[in-house]
């Protein structure tokens, strides 16, 4: 009987287009939209790039010291820091106005930096570029000031100091603590898979609703059948878990092989995490489906909204939402299933299999058991005087 229920639940899932849409198609569509909308995000806002700058030389003045600084910063073969365009003042101002350059170095005996106003927070990259230009001018002025002061007390040291100012030494060493993918855009895909896992709740809800005689005709028939309810529910939940996991696995494959999202870990580990996520999703749906006499459409609406709210708090729509919640109320993150799933992916990506990963999976399983047991308690031993 277990296998019979298992088989027919599989067939039902294949015929249930709405469930397939939520778990199979919707994440793919959203993943494609992420790829389109976010593909440029990191490159546009974060990646190291050359800053275009206009240099306006005042005709009667020469400033070799600053010229050396400019030459040093614009001569790197791969990605130089600056790309200077030499122009007169009017031309430079028009380049700045049309946003072709980020600032104008007006070079005479003194050096001044002129920038366009930067008034909105969407232009964070521009602010950073302007700040780098400001640092360059500040360094020039600082060095000049120090040289002048020392020249007054120890003029013999001036040649050595000038050669020091021309050195382009870097005093630091960058350490790499992880081979993982640190591009924050990847967390959108982590959350997308978390959302797909939570959307498996529709299948769980269907199982619960179709085992209650007051909610569906099929439930009424099942209630009068001699078949064990526990066996029937168990077989159907297992069957829908496997079918839903298959759909989520297809989504993972789509993101990894088609969208080329770098999850920073091996496919089996991603799938294991997704599988635990699916267990939670199915149990969550089973619990929601067991509550009260609410229509199927309303329950489906509640599941979509609650799942999306979980994912929103986890960062599906705003990237650093999870860390903001962590400062504001960390308890939410500790029990939010979407955070637990996406954090498991993050942990795999940055730290590999670790205690934190294990703890996340354990919490997910614990919440899933809680939902499953509550759902069972809600639908067990129900009798109806009249339907």
């Amino acid at each position: 009987m277990f296998l019979h229920e298992f088989k027919y639940e599989l067939i039902r899932v294949l015929r249930q287009k709405e469930e397939l849409f939520w778990v199979l198609l919707f994440p793919m569509l959203l993943g494609t939209m992420f790829h389109l909308a976010l593909g440029n995000l990191n490159r546009a806002t974060e990646s190291f790039h050359t800053i275009p700058v206009a240099v306006c030389l005042e005709s009667d003045q020469k400033n070799e010291a600053f010229q050396t600084v400019l030459d040093t910063l614009s001569q790197d073969e791969d990605t130089p820091l600056l790309k200077p365009t030499y122009a007169d003042w009017e031309e430079a101002a028009s380049l700045l106005k049309e946003d072709s350059v980020r600032g104008i170095f007006r070079v005479g005996e003194d050096v001044t930096l002129h920038c366009a106003p930067n008034e909105n927070d969407a232009a964070a990259t521009l602010a950073l570029e302007q700040s780098i230009l400001e640092t360059i001018v500040r360094q020039y002025h600082t060095n000049a000031d120090i040289l002048t002061r020392i020249a007054q007390t120890s003029p013999e040291k001036l040649p050595e100091l000038i050669s020091l100012t021309q050195s382009d030494a870097s005093y630091g060493t960058a350490l790499s603590l992880t081979p993982g993918n640190m591009d924050f855009v990847i967390q959108y895909y982590f959350n997308l898979i978390a959302m797909a896992c939570l959307f498996t709740s529709f299948a769980g809800s269907y199982v619960a609703m179709h085992h209650q005689a007051n909610l569906s005709a099929l439930g009424a028939r099942k209630c009068v059948s001699p078949n064990s309810k526990f066996l029937s529910v168990g077989a159907q939940l297992l069957s829908c878990l496997l079918s839903q996991f298959f759909c989520v696995a297809v989504n993972v494959a789509y993101l990894v092989y088609v969208i080329k999202a770098d999850f920073g870990t091996s496919l089996p580990m991603i799938l294991l995490t997704a599988f635990i996520g699916c267990i939670l999703g199915v149990c969550f749906g089973f619990f929601i489906g067991s509550i009260g006499r609410v229509s199927e459409a309303a329950k489906s609406g509640i599941m979509v909204s609650v799942s999306l709210l979980f994912c929103f708090l986890s960062g599906l729509m705003i990237d650093n939402m999870r860390m903001l919640i962590e400062d504001f109320c960390p308890l939410i993150n500790d029990i939010n299933p979407a955070v637990l799933i996406s954090d498991s992916f993050l942990t795999l990506n940055i730290y590999g299999v670790s205690a934190r990963y294990g703890s996340n999976l354990f919490t997910l399983l614990l919440i899933a058991i809680l939902f499953a047991v509550s759902g069972c308690l809600l639908i067990r031993r129900k009798t109806y005087a009249s339907l």
């Binding site: 976010l38 990646s47 106003p117 120090i146 050195s167 060493t173 967390q187």
Partner: protein, 391 residues
């Protein structure tokens, strides 16, 4: 007004679910507004980042460097907790981690050039290059002082002094706009930007099921053979829809008033409100088109999520239009919410375009045209379907 009454009765049936949506959507809008505001920057000022510091040396020189950095950035003392460090870097709550190893002062005094400090940074990221540049600039100045014969303490003082006196090197070329930055107003702008997602969602999830009831085949046949005229029936449904949308809209305007106070009814706040009013015909027309196909409750949820999340991502509600790729923007110009966000950017100054009443009116006009076009499409589908049934 029987149809209108029936509309209200159906709406009442969906009231608990709609109230739940309202609470959920309100929480999302408020959270998004509250947290987005953190990034606000006004006119030019040097970018301030969050720099984590592990000072293993604890010497005068390392403290002087930290003091200098604290004038530019927010410094966070860190321990050797790899998880806290990498989590912070991944989520960008930390932009850069600086490690000043034991013996930093000694190596500095010995005029050593390499490995003075260590950093953990996000590879290939611009902000890391910025902090690197500032630290190198400081150390270079300090080394100049040391080479000039000063003691370490004097060198640190002179470096800090000269760097401080050389600050504020940027001269703003154009006069800034006469629209001062106001954090409450910025919250209002974010709220109204996010409102597009919320209102369209509320209309699609709340109104479409009611409209679908009237499209139900048997009910439609019964009404069409009654004494009520088709025009009267349609007008009553339109009145019900308008009432529903207005209530949703007013509820959100009142919510924004409660959250942000009188700033909502300032000149720019009112422009935002007027802009958001155009979301109602857009939402209703999309709802009418969907309703024509008499979808089930689940199908409405599906379509709603595709339409609203899709438009929100592509039109710049979740991610600013300034960051979206050119190809994405070229496509999203064909979606109504693109023009809504563009207007919001115009009012708030989030975009590069300066505010003009002409541009604002033009975008409002485009939104109205979209609504009109979609209403026409809904009517055409409805006509086509009813003609099909008669045949």
């Amino acid at each position: 007004m029987q149809v209108f009454k029936a509309f209200l009765r159906s709406a009442r049936k969906f009231l608990p679910v709609n109230l739940l949506y309202f609470v959920i959507f309100c929480s999302i809008a408020v959270a998004a507004t509250k947290f987005n505001i953190e990034d606000e920057t006004a006119s030019f000022q040097t970018v301030s980042l969050t720099v984590g510091v592990i000072d293993e040396d604890g010497s005068g020189a390392s403290k002087a460097l930290c003091d200098y950095l604290s004038t530019l950035h927010t410094l966070t003392p860190l321990t050797h907790d790899r998880e806290a460090l990498l989590d912070g870097l991944f989520y960008r709550t930390l932009d850069y981690a600086l490690i000043l190893p034991d013996g930093f002062e000694e190596r500095l005094s010995d005029q050593e050039e390499e490995h003075l400090y260590e950093t953990v940074q996000i590879p290939g990221v611009f902000s890391s290059a910025f902090v690197d540049e500032q630290i190198n600039s400081y150390l270079k100045a300090l080394r100049l002082c040391l080479a000039g014969g000063l003691s370490l303490d004097d060198a640190c003082s002179m470096t800090a002094e000269t760097l401080a006196s050389a600050s504020n090197q940027v001269q703003i070329l154009e006069s800034e706009t006469d629209r001062p930055a106001d954090s409450t107003l910025t919250s209002v702008f974010y709220f109204y930007q996010f409102l597009a997602y919320i209102i369209i969602s509320m209309i699609l999830t709340g109104l479409t099921p009611i409209l679908t009831i009237f499209q139900e085949e048997n009910l439609a046949r019964r009404t069409s053979c009654s004494s009520a005229s088709l025009l009267g029936r349609n007008l009553q449904i339109a009145l019900g829809s308008a009432l529903y949308c207005l209530l949703v809209w007013i509820l959100f305007i009142l919510t924004s008033r409660v959250l942000y106070g009188p700033a909502v009814f300032s000149e720019r706040g009112l422009l935002c409100i007027a802009n958001s009013f155009l979301l109602l015909p857009v939402g209703v027309s999309i709802s009418l088109i969907i309703g024509c196909f008499s979808p089930s409750g689940n199908a409405i949820n599906m379509i709603n999520n595709i339409v609203t999340l899709g438009m929100s991502f592509l039109c710049g509600i979740f991610i600013p239009q300034q960051i979206l790729g050119q190809q994405v923007l070229a496509f999203s110009k064909y979606l109504p919410l693109y023009w809504y966000v563009k207007n919001n950017d115009l009012i708030s100054g989030f975009g590069k375009e300066a505010f003009t009443l002409h541009a604002y009116g033009k975008h409002i006009g485009i939104l109205a045209l979209y609504s009109f076009a979609m209403f026409s499409v809904a009517l055409a589908i409805s006509k086509y379907k009813s003609a099909g049934k008669k045949a």
